[in-house]
């Protein structure tokens, strides 16, 4: 329902997306993703050295599972939020990872991507 009490209400979701610079709604957990698309998001974040983020397992909460889709007007899980803003699902995150946008977006959040250090190591060789 919409009343502000349920875990899927707009207010509840708003609180969740704002609680950390990087928030992910997924199936399973980062330690144990339960879907290939959710796993892809976890792996991409890991590549960039982002291990400190909030992950919510929608399989544990049907109200949240529907609520997050209503909130973003996006029909699928996983959903990635950076600084409280919906960025996209795993296809978008993959695209951002491949074209360098993810490094830039993380920088705006004050997060230095691990890939920048990997590049530095490359240059030293």
């Amino acid at each position: 329902g919409g009343g502000g009490g349920g875990s899927g209400s707009r207010e509840a979701v708003e609180r969740l997306v704002r609680e950390h610079p990087v928030v992910v709604f997924m199936k399973g957990s980062p330690a144990q993703p339960l879907c290939g698309f959710s796993n892809a998001v976890v792996q991409i974040l890991r590549l960039h050295g982002v291990e400190d983020y909030r992950a919510h397992d929608v399989l544990q909460d049907p109200d949240l599972r529907q609520g997050i889709k209503n909130y973003s007007n996006w029909p699928t899980i996983p959903q990635v939020y950076l600084n409280g803003e919906f960025v996209g699902g795993c296809d978008i995150l993959l695209q951002m990872h491949q074209n360098g946008d993810l490094v830039e977006e993380l920088k705006k959040l004050g997060i230095r991507s691990a890939l920048l250090d990997a590049e530095k190591d490359q240059e030293k060789k």
Partner: protein, 83 residues
Amino acid sequence: RGFASGTDGESRLARLLREKFPQASAIKVVDISGGCGDMYEIHVESEEFREKRPVQQHRMVTQALSEEIKHMHGLRIFTSAPK
């Protein structure tokens, strides 16, 4: 389940996408569920996507297929503007 085989589902979705994206220069739909008709890869290339952020482009597709998506387990979306 199964009145729509993989190929039927692909054709139906491609037809729907052609209606919703009249300016599309390329549309491809691939059943990636092993023929079960519940997971697809959607490729749309259209002038309508130019200058739009990827999430906006993808949202145009999810909105065009909102009814169909309700019956899918998942989908992958690839959008672009013609080069």
